[in-house]
Structure formats: C-alpha cells, structure tokens
Symmetry: C2
Subunit: 433 residues, 2 copies
C-alpha cells in the first residue's frame, strides 16, 4: 500500500494497481459477455434518499457541503455507501427509456465512515451486477446472479470462493413462526454471529426481548446448511416451525440452490446463518468468502423487491457486489499476487528503446513509433548516458526488454533483461514474448 496513507483510504503502488487493472479487465469482460451493460451513476445522492436504506450504516454516511456554504446550512447531499441504492434510483428515474429485464454492471467507489481495519475501508471500489425487472422478476434471475457471481469469482486470480445463500423470507417465516415480531432487529443480531459468536448473540437476543428458548431456536436455525435443495427442506421442516412465508422462501432458496447444482467455479451452499446487514433485501441473500481463509465477506448481494420503483411502478431487482478493494487488501496482505506472471512490473511498457546519444534520440523515437503502431507498448529512455545505466532503469521499472537501435553497421537488437539474451530484431515484426 502507498505510504503516508489517510487511514481507510487505500491507494496502491504501481505494481499492485496493475494487478487491480487486470482484475477490472476480467470483471468487465465477464459481465459484458453475459449482456450486462456498463453504467456510471453520480457519487452523490440526496441525503434523504440514502437515509434508512443502509440499516446500521446511516451514521457512517459522508455528507457534502460546498466550502462557501453557510455553516448553518444543512447538508443536502451525501456520498453513496453502495451502488445498489443509486442504481435503483437511476432505473426508477429512467424506466421509460430502459428495456426490462435490465442488466447492468457498475464499477465505482463507495464511501462509508467506518473504523478502518484490514478489509474495511472508508473509500472502496465495488463491482456490481444487477438485474431489475418491470413489475415482476422471476427467481430464475436470483439464480443467474449467483451463477454469474460464482463464474466471475472463479475467473479472478484469487482463492476459491464459497458462496453462502439464504432467503430473508425463510428467516422471517421461521422467526414469525416462533412468534418474533421484530424481524429486522433479530436479523441484525443474528448477522453478528460470525463476528461475536453464538453465546453473545444469544445474550443480545435475550436483551432485545426474545425468550431464552426462542434465542436458542434462532441459533439452531443458523446451524442449518446444505448444498442440495431437497435436503435443505428436510432440515428446515425438521425444526417443526410453520409459516406461509417460510414455504415461499424455502421454495425460492431451493430453486436457487438447484439452479447452481452444476456450478464448478465456486462452492455454493445454502446457509441459514446468512442474514446481510442491509435493510433493503426481501428474498435471496448471498455472501462469499475465500475458502480456507478466516476473512470477512469478499462479495455479497441479494434480492430487493421494493428498493426501486415506488408510486405506480414495481421494479424488483436482484444483484451482487464484488468488493474489489477488500479483495486487493486481503490478497496483498496474504502475498497472493507475488506468484502472478509479471508481478512487480511498475510500467505498462514491454520494451524500452535505448538512446545511443542525444544526437540520435530521434532515431530511438522513430523505433518507438513503429513499435507502438503495431501495438507494442514502448518508452524511450530518458537518458543517453551509459547502456548499463539505461538497462538498470528499465529493470527497476520492471520493463522486460531493452531495444538497441541500429547504429552504423550494426542492426537493431533487443535484449531480454531477465535472461540477458540479446538477439537481432526488426521494429517491423518484433513482439514481446
């Protein structure tokens, strides 16, 4: 990470930024391949549109004012804390000009004023995929999102991902079947299970007014997990809790699980512990973690039936978000990128053209132009002093080849500074390996 950083606002050094660019290129390619159109929304939303959509995160919203605004003027704008709320607003505002079901991807930063730690940032890059339907959106699209999420995570040079799916209706049905009325409050407490453990969750539930027996049953629910739809249903039915919302949610959850039966790029498992912190989810929820690493969620998402739309229009949606900055932070911390081919390069150039002397710099420039015209990324050395110094500069910048322009009777040669091998070459047909 870059030095003298502002805590929670990470910046990468060139070699790591090049890895991040590779990740983004893979994400853009995979999302485009599945017909997701790229979109950008503004970084700001009216503060009123951000409040009460984020669950516990309201107080973490960054509000904006112009420096010249009067101190007593109330802030009207805030920076978005995710890409789902702005996308839902965009779709509702432009629904007459969009074709539904509408698929888009969006790669932008989001901001939350949380306490910074490894994997938790105040400014972080997210890569989101979402589908929004007009009036209705089949549970098939929940499956599409989970499948694409699995496929995309599998295409990145990161550890294998385990995607844990659940359904808010399953939890709400079970909770209501247990006589719980404060569903959101209960969900938020159970969502802390991984962070604080079952005993503290039970204590919090009792403090929040649940009986000790109900708290125990909430924990028993959270124990259920399965990779097969039918098996999942048996486990849930064995709890002996009945509610019509449970039936609906269980059908959806089994369907998503079954749609992912042939997925090989990630582990997909139904896990009733998964609740998600955000308030806007209404059905499917998903969280992804790196298999074999005790780290927090690297991707997540879910179904939101009531976030977009309002008024006459119903615009149900489902989507997922890949935490690019968090993935970068984890992988850099684990040293996982060191083994990537070419890792450590700090220039996009494949070749540096050496300069024999300032009087022949134009010859070196001409070689560079020929190479670039053929798509070879090229720089000309800044100095004409000593070849050793020039090669040393290329080496330090991580540029693998040095071009020695023709001079007198000697033709062009190119040196691979990793192997030391130097061979004749022509700017008309040479390419880096």
């Amino acid at each position: 990470m870059s030095k003298k950083a502002l805590s929670g606002f990470p910046e990468w050094l060139p070699a790591d930024e090049l890895v991040q660019q590779d990740l983004l290129t893979i994400l853009r390619r995979e999302f485009s391949l599945h017909g997701y159109v790229p979109l950008h929304t503004r970084a700001v939303e009216p503060l009123s549109a951000l409040l009460s959509k984020g669950g516990d995160t309201d107080k973490e919203i960054y509000v904006l004012k112009r420096l010249s605004d009067a101190p007593e003027k109330a802030a009207e704008l805030g920076l978005h804390f995710d890409l789902t709320v702005p996308f839902a607003r965009y779709v509702a505002a432009n629904r007459g000009q969009l074709t539904f079901p509408f698929r888009r991807y969006q790669i932008q930063p989001a901001w939350r004023g949380e306490r910074p730690q490894l994997g938790r940032y105040r400014e972080f890059l997210q890569a989101d995929i979402d589908i929004i339907g007009s009036e209705k959106l089949d549970v098939r699209y929940d499956g599409e999102i989970v499948r694409l999420l699995a496929h995309t995570m599998g295409a990145l040079p990161v550890p294998r991902t385990k995607l844990m799916i659940n359904n808010r209706k399953v939890l709400e049905g079970l909770y209501r079947g247990l006589g719980i009325e404060d569903i959101t409050g209960t969900l938020r407490i159970v969502d802390k299970l991984d962070k604080i453990g079952p005993e503290k969750v039970a204590t919090l539930l009792v403090e929040a007014g649940r009986s000790a027996e109900v708290a125990d049953r909430c924990l028993a629910i959270a124990e259920i997990s399965s990779t097969v739809g039918g098996e999942l249903e048996s486990q849930v039915r064995a709890l002996g809790i009945e509610h019509e919302l449970l039936d609906v949610g269980l059908g959806e959850l089994s369907s998503v699980l079954d749609q992912c039966a042939d997925v090989s790029s990630a582990d997909v498992v139904a896990d009733l512990r998964i609740a998600r912190g955000l308030d806007y989810y209404t059905g499917t929820v998903v969280e992804g973690v790196f298999v074999g690493h005790d780290l927090s969620t690297v991707c997540s998402g879910g179904r939101y039936d009531n976030l977009a739309g309002g008024g006459k229009a119903r615009l149900p949606g489902v989507g997922a978000s890949i935490g690019v900055t968090r993935i970068m932070g984890y992988c850099l911390n684990l040293g996982l990128f060191d083994a990537l081919p070419g890792y450590g390069r700090a220039s996009t150039a494949d070749v540096m053209v050496a300069v024999h002397g300032e009087d022949s710099r134009t010859d070196s420039e001409a070689v560079a132009r020929q190479l670039r015209a053929r798509g070879v990324s090229t720089v000309v050395c800044h100095t004409s002093k000593g070849y050793g110094k020039q090669i040393g500069w290329a080496d330090k910048a991580g540029i693998p080849y040095v071009w020695m322009p023709a001079r007198g009777d000697n033709g062009h040669t190119v040196k691979d500074i990793r192997s030391g091998e130097q061979v004749p070459a022509s700017p008309e047909d040479w390419s880096p390996v």
Copy 2:
C-alpha cells in the same frame, strides 16, 4: 442524459454510456502503449492540501463530514477538484518506491461546486496523463505530453482538436518587462479573454491597477499566435519587451512547438492568449478546443515545477487532462455520436438466444454457454412467449442477432434482425459480423 438529474451531476443512458466506455477503452489503450501506468488516488484530500492550489476555485471545493460528526466539528477532508494535486501528493509520499521519470495515467471523477451549464459539471470524469521527474524534468517531456495529447484526441471519435500552447514564463517575463508586479492577478484577468472579450479585460486590468497603456500591451501580447518556433520568436521580439524570464520561456515554448512540427492528429499552435486558471503551472500551458465549434476547452494541462515535492525533494511535473464528461456533453448535445457504428445499442450482448418454451429453456442456456465460452456476448430471452415478442425485445435492447435453437429436425439458425436474414449456424463456430 438521464432524467430527473441532479443539476451538474450528469448520468448517461446505456447507449451513451457504451460510447463513453469506448472512449475510455481508447484512452487506456493509447496511454498504456506509451508506457503510462494506471493509478487511482483516493477521492478525498485533507482540506489544507486542496486550498490555494486551485486559484479561483477554493470556494467551489466540496467538504466532507460524517453524518454522526458534531455540527461544530470543522471539516477536515474535501473532494479533489482535479487529478493533478492528488497525483503530485501521491508521488511525493511514495517517491522512494517509484522510478523516475514516472509516467502515469488516471481516469477518475473530480468535483467542483460550480454553477452547472452545458460542458460545466459538478462531478466530471477526467483522464489525466502526467510525467514527474526527480530533481529535473527536461522540456522534452512537455513536448511528449502535448504530442500524446494530440495523438489521443485524434484517436477519439470526436471533432478535430486544436491545441493552443503557451508558457507562463513568457507571460510573466513580458508582464514583468512591462513593470507589472501582480502576475497572478493579471494572468487571471487575461485568462477571461475568450469569455468576456478584450474590452472588458482591459477594463478589469485598469480596475486592478494597470495603466491603460499596459492593459493595451497585455491585449497585444494575447494576439500573438504562430505554428512555427522561429516565427513566434520574431513576433514576440517585435514587442520590444525584455526580461530574462521571457528568454527562458520563449526557448521552452519554441522547443515544444518544434517538437510538435510533425504532429498530424491535431492542430498545434502557440497562442499567447492561453494562461490557464490554475495557480500551480510554472511553464508550458496547453488548452485544446474542437476546431469549428464555439465551445470551451476539452483538454488542458501544463508544467508544474513546485506542486509535488517540498522539503528536500524537487519533483517537477508536466501533464494534461482530457475532460471526458465535457466531451460527452458536447458531442451528445451536437448529436455527433449518432453516426457511430452500432450507436443506440443498449446492451453489450451481440446475440439473444430465443426460448421455444419454458421446458426447453435449459437448451437455450446451453447454447448461450457455448457462445460465451468463445467470447460471444450472449443473453437468453426472459420470455418464451411468441417469437415476435422475443425478437421485438432484442430489437428494443439493440441486440443485433437472435439465435433460434435447434428443435426436432430443425438445426440452429441465427437471424440478423437488421436485415431480416436468417441462416443456419452452429454455436461452435458462429460469430457476429
């Protein structure tokens, strides 16, 4: 532009966003080809680092606070108003880990709380290229930046660009030679020439304490323009003003102009009217406009010898910024993208696979997977009702081909919905034209 926009915070509809993505792809490709490494800096800077770097723009800075911060707590952070100030800070902070001269490109939004109008936004995407040197940076790099700017603008599907270059030292030398002491104040007034015209500039100069004769001579200086270094020098010398800074600046300006003598992708001209509003420029300044359009600057930049570094280190830099959002705004306003091939598509998919019935949806999904595995961007139709309805959906989304999966004795066919032609095809080798 997207409906119900927040004034000054533009968002594009899918068809236009796809054009913007094409622009960004071209920019990334050209910058990489010249050895510029991609970087991202955080969106925020300490407010103290932003103040007094922007000239007149201080009051337009957006400051940030957490919603939970006490009202009386002073804001400490602001959103950057350009990408040069954060990049200079990044280089100074990480100079031990960078290789100089250090070339980078950076494509990110910036924010200024200005009064919105066509081409002037509160949030706008910029694409910047910069080179920063350690201790010194030859004027050759000023030429490299102007050349790359010309090359890149020429590679975009936008009107031809005219790049007007000047040098702050030329203006300062001339002004000092005329006995003017308030250089920055004079530059800022002369910079308004295109907006308010010569008479008002003369009035403002006199109001600021210049004599009427000096004001006239400032305007005469601003009249000078040439495409040839030697000719430029004669014109300037004919003014009869002498100052050692003028000699240095004129040498640099002539050099940059001569380095661009063979540039064909844009018009490059020395124009002494160009001053630039930002305070940090110390030498070369450049502004680009669309030839034949009475619009504001679409790209700009210059040399900044004292922005990075400080303390022991001198880190002189030169760079340029392409106003992506402004270019989008102008070109959309002029309808210039309408003629681009494929303009109007609102999906990244090349082909939509039709669905004969819900019972054969998995067959359609299998075709989609085969096509995607070969890099063909594909969606499966959301409905299995009527082929007319399905083709209509693809047409509305701007997807050019519809795939009819094999069924019974009939093999796969693909229909070009622009021509209506329908031909047999195999998912193993078909590609869109």
